[in-house]
Amino acid sequence: MNTTTANTQTAASPVEAIQVWLVNQLAEVLSLDPSTIEVKQPLTRYGLDSIDAVTLVGDLEDWLDLELPSTLLWDYPTIEKASTYLVDEFEVSLDA
């Protein structure tokens, strides 16, 4: 799988960095306060329906510059599970 160059600007692990991105993205697209989003909760709890979840994978693909399975957020339906899967499966590390 592709590995993007590690960037030392942030001390956050890749899993944490993806979680932060997902929390912020979800907050933005569903007009929520990011502090209310918990990484262990199912995304449907925040009003993300099935098609939204697929569209969000498209945004993830753009950010990570990877092709991902479009049902990723169906199969890993919490922010925590999705982040862990991405790092395990795609060896992702992040630039800002």
Partner: protein, 608 residues
């Protein structure tokens, strides 16, 4: 003029079916307007008429060749659906529930495919799609029907309603919850053979009386702890929603053929009236300028919708991975446009449009009522616009990021999707995707299309005035698309179901721009092979003008002579009994009888 269609064998099947069905105005013919009016009034299911279609072996064309049938091309498929639909929507929809079989062709095991092929082709079996529930229409994930795992299979409990052919069918596709926790992987899809069920554990719900397709078997099915064998599971547990959404891409793109059939009949019957009714001295109704213009607009809407559905039918074979976008555009644009066209044209018939026994057995009002369901079923207009809104930002981003290296492959795909003489690749349903990742070849073809048009400046075989007008209108499409992409980039894009009114309006406009580009590319790729009217291109300028002037009020008017050219072509097709289409295949001639032995050429006999 020699038939254009002779060279395009993908239309031979439709022409053969037309010949054998005969003139629908003749009450002695099967599926005539008079007969179907009686069926509609009686609300009795049309068993005999559907049996005729099975005996003709049409069902073979719903089964792909690699599964034992004759299906090879959606272009061919759309043409024969139009043949049925122009006669009666209830019969064509009831027969065409067979197209749900694509779910099995997509993911079935070899045993499931074999069983289904046999059921359809030899047993003349029929099927229905049981997804909707009384309290959950478009919300599939919210469904209450459960399939609890037990040794050897599942126990189903729940009700599916309203379902077309729920009762009069031997097989039903059912979406049911197999995971108690629910969610997007909580549903599974089953191909349930009713003959394998205990009759005591399922039942049918009563027939629903409807505004249109009144003789339809619109009913429901109820499962009461009903055992369904494991062999009925399609794909894997939890794959139900994904399969359902992909299956809908196929059917949404093709539903437009029903609308086209209905619209063809309404235009034809109204034209017949207008040509034969004289008023105020020697004028016919058609000579009245505002009436003439209504017909011209109607025919232009036809041609536009034709281009949209044509590229959808062919594009399925070339770029199935883009169909989450194309099917949404097609399913919204065509039924809505043609419904409006039928309403506008009804004015010409005056009081007669409202009558059930007058003028061609009251077929106009019946088609109006019957076709109203098309924009609702298999994903309503709202569902499809919403699907488009969610992908709109990706579409804008991908357009901005286009690279020069992508140009050659794009041009090749466009040629394969638009040119009638290009053989289509085999349909590969396993390539369907839930998102197109920003791809929409028709829209991304805008700049290359503009370049191709400009390269024709000075060409001897192109009407240069028309060309300049077309170029100017495609420049307007570019302005509109650029403005929309910019607006989307700036706006706070939202997910979820609370999309703004403006988002829906943008999505509708996107569909119009897509339709416009489909018309241009249709012309570019086929201008040497669809006759003079098509090549001259007045229709193209008028179609583009009509689409764009819904939003742009600054467009220069089009010359009167162009409108007259449209009227002439429409009348020519009418008098020659040809389909109102950019590919005007031959319909049954007036006075032609059903199953006329002398009309059927031996090589087109389709009996087994």
């Amino acid at each position: 003029m020699a038939s254009l269609i002779e060279q395009f064998k993908q239309y031979w099947l439709a022409e053969s079916l037309e010949r054998d069905l005969g003139d629908p105005n003749d009450p002695k013919n099967v599926i005539s307007f008079q007969q179907t009016a009686q069926i509609d009034e009686s609300e009795a299911f049309p068993h005999d008429e559907i049996a005729w279609l099975y005996n003709w072996q049409l069902q073979r064309y719903y089964v792909p060749t690699d599964c034992g049938g004759e299906f090879t091309s959606f272009e061919e498929f759309v043409s024969f659906v139009r043949v049925m639909a122009r006669r009666d929507l209830n019969i064509s929809i009831a027969f065409t529930t067979l197209f749900w079989s694509f779910l099995t062709w997509m993911v079935g095991t070899p045993e499931q495919k074999q069983k289904l092929m046999n059921y359809i082709i030899n047993d003349h079996g029929a099927m229905c799609l049981s997804y909707s529930e009384r309290d959950h229409g478009s919300d599939l994930v919210g469904g209450d029907t459960v399939a609890v795992k037990v040794p050897g299979g599942y126990r189903f409990t729940g009700e599916k309603w309203p379902i077309n052919r729920a009762t009069i069918s031997g097989l039903t596709y059912v979406l049911a919850r197999t995971n108690e926790e629910g969610g997007n992987r909580g549903l599974s899809l089953f191909m349930v053979d009713k003959s394998e069920l205990d009759p005591a554990s399922y039942s049918n719900l009563p027939k629903i009386k409807t505004h249109g397709i009144r003789a339809a078997d619109m009913s429901g099915i109820k499962f009461d702890n009903c055992f369904v064998p494991e062999s009925a599971l399609l794909g894997k547990e939890g794959q139900g929603l994904e399969l359902a959404l992909k299956g809908f891409q196929i059917t949404r793109a093709l539903c437009a053929a029903f609308s086209q059939g209905a619209a063809d009949t309404t235009l034809r019957t109204t034209l017949k009236f207008a040509l034969n009714r004289q008023l105020y001295g020697k004028k016919t109704v058609l000579d009245m300028l505002d009436v003439r213009r209504s017909f011209i607009f109607g025919f232009l809407d036809f041609l536009t919708c034709d281009c949209v559905i044509f590229v959808a039918a062919c594009g399925f074979h070339v770029v199935p991975e883009q169909f989450s976008v194309w099917s949404a555009v097609d399913k919204y644009f065509v039924p809505v446009t043609l419904e409006k066209m039928m309403q506008d044209i009804s004015v010409v018939l005056g009081a007669r449009f409202y009558m059930r026994d007058e003028h061609d057995a009251g077929v106009f009002q019946k088609m109006l009522r019957d076709s109203a369901i098309i924009s609702v079923f298999d994903g309503s207009s709202v569902v499809n616009l919403h699907a488009l809104i969610l992908q709109r930002r990706q579409l804008a981003k991908a357009r901005a990021r286009r690279k020069p290296t992508q140009l050659e492959p794009l041009l090749a795909r466009l040629k394969n999707s638009f040119a009638l003489d290009q053989p289509l690749p085999a349909f590969a349903p396993q390539k369907l995707e839930l998102i197109s990742r920003g791809a929409d070849d028709v829209m991304h073809g805008l700049e290359p299309t503009l370049d191709q048009l400009k390269s024709l400046v000075g060409a001897a075989d192109v009407n240069q005035t028309m060309l300049q007008e077309a170029i100017a209108l495609v420049e307007v499409i570019r302005e509109e698309l650029d403005a929309q992409d910019e607006q989307i980039a700036q706006s706070g894009f939202e997910h979820g179901h609370d999309q703004s009114f403006e988002s829906f309006e943008l999505a509708k406009h996107y569909c119009r721009l897509h339709a416009g580009l489909a018309c241009v590319q249709m012309w570019l790729h086929n201008r040497h092979q669809l006759g003079d009217f098509f090549a001259k291109g007045e229709w193209l300028v008028l179609c583009l003008h009509r689409l764009l002037s819904q939003k742009r009020l600054d467009l220069p008017p089009v010359a009167e002579a162009y409108y007259e050219a449209i009227a002439e072509e429409m009348l020519r097709l009418y008098h020659e009994d040809k389909m109102f289409s950019i590919v005007p295949f031959q319909l049954a001639r007036s006075g032609q009888s059903s199953d006329s032995a002398e009309e059927v050429t031996p090589e087109l006999q389709l009996q087994a």
